[in-house]
């Protein structure tokens, strides 16, 4: 009986293989690992935002029960440990390099943010380590803190780092200011908007953890860590901090419970446990408390901008001028400098034909937790600025919000399209995604819904954003010329086993994205091997040759492309073997999904026949071809990829309480070719939840002394199931023209398009209250104040 297997290739919503272990409690997250003889580390952190360390007394702590060691920054300095490196160097307007102050693993002269690690207590149990850490006597000389960018740049502000005058990291720009100023001088109208992009805390559900091990008999170190990119950690920690060669350092990122960017960076705790394990020759394990995560995981966003749009009399955009301040926090995190520059300012054309753009960015140090990439990384900031500006421009010119966008769209026949801010878009159809979203959200029927809601005493509003982003990070030479200190290719190895199953080694890492299923689908589609027989290996530097990890929506665009190239090599070799086996010319061999055929005949060989021959090379072209069937490809992308789309939010406000309820959310995204529609929907839904969180709920708040007021989930409003609406998610596909899969990436688009759609809807709901603009989050308190403080304007 022939049973037709369900289709598992590209385009199928294959249910996930990894779910079996997650659903039965058999996930292997870093804190789940326990090693013989392991010790536990507790990190002592600064309670002050800015202070000099006058002295550290660890004697009492070291004598406490179960304590094996107490280490400080001075101990690390004695061992000549390097500081935590920054992976991207930005240059100032005058060509000089940015200020790049040292970032010690454990602070030892000064502390610069609440949460700055100063010492570590290592003991037999976590409780003993904690008790000991609390007994370390720190002598601090408290200094005035600069908790905001404004305070940090004020005359007489406390200097956070010697060598960073005025607490400025860099003053960068892109574009020709004189050309843009001229466009503004000739404009019929200039629309100006001041915007804040609120600081966020990523809060992946799994707190960070790290387990360091050292084998004295072999000299091998192993670090198990909650990372999105174990090879990057091996490189940065090995080369820059601990001076361990790669061949003696294995980094494993096992199951990781979410990242969203916050688990990209090389953090102090990774170096602390690895170094300590070496010194003590015992495994050392650290797991963050959630409150500890709040003050040690990199935060996101935190921009203050002034944006100006120059328009002609018909609403065509003549130019854009932006001035942004971006908060770096107390130290430079691994990728921080590139986020508000090359991942932000280069997106300021968006979906529009804006001919000239100038953007200057000042990156400022403050006495707060370091800030770095968080889902979207620079692109949500750009989209928020552009899409709020478009709505304000529409209101001021009287042009319909949708028509203003449409009339400025890059036409569908204009691709490849060179923007004035370095990026060249390969493909896109912004009219299609806009039209599809307007129809799905019933934009046309909205006014009737507004009137009906008003009868119920509710203020209803609708808003859209037509966003574009750049991901599939990144062409190595391009980013290298822009200051990146790493390549951004990806690696894939395809190992066909003798009896035909396949193991894939990928440098990409899955921390929720479902690679064990979706990457197997690529192999099922191209090589014809069933998903159940394809094993995806990731997250272990001992198994996978190299890799740059997963972030910037790159795993499929770059990692998947590497796999495709490796499979091309497998097929090429397979054809030569098949030609030998079938005594035909290699040019006459065709391959389709697992079958090699002599063209025009019914003579075939299955992939398994080829793999058996390759590993048992008795009937084999041994003079010309080595045995085996395993190929590796390194893929360096030719360009970024450019997903884009349209998000539409519909809200209702209760004027009595100011509460904004999400009524509907519609997303139409162009993410290029869709491999697994179910996975894409899930990624977009998750991103939208984070975007709605930014728009309505989340804010990281510090007081003027740099104390973190939103220090736990009691005060930081995480989105819950009843905060979020059902979301309608659809895709419209224009293929990426420059990678083998035609994919653009979908991991971040949800968080990029949604915040401006929501705020545009809220402002629309408040249109009778004279609200020009509103900062995120649009909390009930803010809305209630507007409604009750604002004069209710009579409708025309």
């Amino acid at each position: 009986m022939n049973v037709v297997a369900p289709f598992e290739g590209i385009g199928a919503s294959v249910r996930r293989k990894e779910d079996f272990r997650f659903l039965q409690g058999r996930g292997a997250y870093t804190d789940d690992f326990n090693r013989q003889g392991q010790l536990h580390a507790w990190i002592l952190r600064s309670p002050h935002a800015h202070a000099r360390i006058r002295g550290v007394d660890t004697a009492k702590a070291a004598a406490m029960p179960g304590v094996v060691a107490v280490f400080t920054g001075a101990d690390m300095a004695r061992d000549n440990l390097g500081g935590l490196p920054c992976g991207w160097q930005i240059h100032n307007k005058d060509g000089s390099p940015m200020a790049e102050p040292p970032h010690p693993v454990l602070a030892h002269e000064k502390v610069r943010h609440v949460g700055d690690p100063v010492a570590v207590a290592i003991a037999a149990t976590r409780e003993q380590a904690r008790d000991a850490a609390e007994a370390i006597a720190m002598d601090y000389e408290v200094l005035q803190a600069a908790a905001t960018m404004k305070a940090a740049q004020a005359p007489g502000a406390p200097i956070i780092h010697d060598g960073a005058a005025n607490n400025l990291c860099y003053d960068w720009h892109i574009g020709d200011k004189a050309v843009v100023d001229a466009a503004f001088a000739s404009a019929a109208r200039v629309v100006t908007l001041d915007l804040v992009n609120n600081r966020l805390i990523p809060n992946a559900m799994e707190p960070r953890a790290a387990l360091g091990e050292f084998d004295r008999t072999t000299g091998d170190y192993t670090l198990t860590t909650t990372s999105q990119n174990p090879h990057v950690i091996r490189l940065l920690m090995g080369a820059n901090v601990l001076h361990i060669p790669e061949s003696k350092l294995r980094v494993v990122a096992p199951d990781v419970g979410g990242g969203f960017g916050s688990k990209i960076y090389h953090y102090a705790e990774e170096a602390i446990v690895t170094w300590s394990a070496g010194k003590l020759a015992r495994p050392v394990k650290w797991t963050a408390d959630r409150s500890e995560s709040f003050m040690s995981d990199a935060h996101g966003r935190d921009h203050v901008s002034r944006a100006e749009l120059a328009l002609d009399a018909n609403g065509r955009i003549l130019g854009l001028r932006v001035s942004t301040q971006a908060n770096m926090g107390a130290y430079l995190s691994t990728f921080a400098p590139c986020v508000p520059t090359y991942l932000y300012a280069t997106l300021l054309a968006g979906t529009y034909t804006t001919p000239v753009i100038y953007c200057e960015v000042k990156a400022v140090f403050t006495n707060t937790v370091p800030v770095d990439a968080y889902r979207g990384a620079g692109r949500p900031e750009a989209s928020f600025l552009l899409e709020r500006l478009m709505d304000v421009a529409a209101a001021e010119t009287g042009i319909d919000r949708v028509e203003l966008r449409r009339s400025n769209f890059i036409p569908t026949d204009a691709f490849p399209y060179q923007t004035p801010v370095a990026l060249q878009y390969d493909s896109g159809n912004y009219h299609a995604t806009l039209d599809q979203a307007l129809a799905a959200a019933d934009w046309a029927g909205f006014e009737a819904r507004r009137a009906e809601a008003a009868k119920r005493g509710r203020l209803r509003g609708i808003g859209c954003s037509t966003y574009l982003e750049a991901c599939g990070i990144a062409p190595s030479a391009v980013v290298g010329s822009l200051g990146a200190r790493a390549g951004l290719y990806e690696v894939g190895t395809i190992r066909v086993h003798p009896t035909g199953s396949v193991t894939v080694l990928t440098g990409a890492h899955s921390h929720g994205q479902g690679h064990e299923t979706t990457f197997a689908q690529l192999v099922a589609d191209k090589l014809g091997v069933p998903v159940a027989q394809v094993d995806i290996v990731h997250g272990d530097t001992a198994k996978v040759p190299f890799g740059m990890g997963t972030y910037g929506s790159r795993s499929l665009a770059v990692g998947g492309s590497a796999m495709m190239k490796a499979m091309d090599k497998i097929i090429a070799k397979g054809k030569r073997i098949a030609a030998h086996l079938m005594e035909a010319s290699v040019d006459d061999i065709e391959f389709d999904r697992g079958t090699f055929r002599v063209a025009g005949t019914d003579r075939t060989k299955a992939l398994v026949d080829i793999s058996v021959a390759a590993y048992v090379p008795h009937n084999y072209p041994i003079e010309e071809l080595e045995p085996g069937l395993e190929e590796t490809a390194f893929y360096d992308p030719k360009n970024f990829t450019y997903p884009g789309g349209c998000h539409i939010a519909e809200v209702e406000i209760d004027p009595e309480t100011g509460k904004v309820s999400m009524v509907n959310f519609t997303a139409v995204d162009d993410v290029g070719r869709v491999i697994n529609p179910m996975i894409v929907e899930g990624q977009v839904q998750g991103g939208i939840a984070q975007g709605i969180g930014q728009a309505l709920l989340e804010a990281c708040v510090y007081d003027a002394d740099g104390q973190l007021l939103t220090g736990s989930m009691l005060d930081y409003t995480m989105p819950r199931a009843d905060d979020l609406p059902p979301v309608s998610v659809a895709t419209h596909t224009t293929l990426c023209t420059h990678n083998p899969l035609g994919v653009k990436g979908c991991g971040e688009v949800g968080a990029i398009g949604s915040p401006p759609a929501v705020i545009n809807a809220v402002v629309d709901a408040l249109r009778d209250y004279g609200v020009r603009t509103l900062d995120m989050p649009a909390t009930p308190s803010k809305i209630w104040t507007i409604i009750n403080g604002g004069r209710r304007m009579a409708a025309e």
Binding site: R16, G257, P677, S712, M713, P719
Partner: protein
Amino acid sequence: MPQVTLTVNGQSHTAEVEGRTLLVELLREKLRLTGTHVGCDTSQCGACVVHIDGESVKSCTTLAVMCDGASVTTIEGLARPDGTLHPMQEAFREYHALQCGFCTPGMVLSAIDLVQKNPRGLTEQQIREGLEGNLCRCTGYHNIVKAIAAAAEVMHGRRSEIARAAE
């Protein structure tokens, strides 16, 4: 040191604990049942939810000594010995209601309790409100709500198997 005897997933255990030991610590560290997770320190997130005597409880806010004589079910104890998944586990997979998997054990156990307590069914709004004690950062809850609705149909005998998710 106090001693506590409790049944976990049908097996009896006796352990010496400190007065301050949390149930989740007993499960993860003494019994090496690491399926129950710790996601926060203020009892917000629900990653630690288990069933104690049939009801969902946050094991991070329960002292081990309070569980003397109790019967605890963790995520490891849901599937049948022959590997057949609980309808809620099946539904979560069918509807793609998990991504990184970290909130999933607590989410599944909370969901089972929610459905068990509402045999006549739940509206979407009631499911969303019933999940207030469980945070997920990955999925946006959309598919979790769908999975729970689908599982409820099977758990209350209105369907014999989990309905396929719409393509």
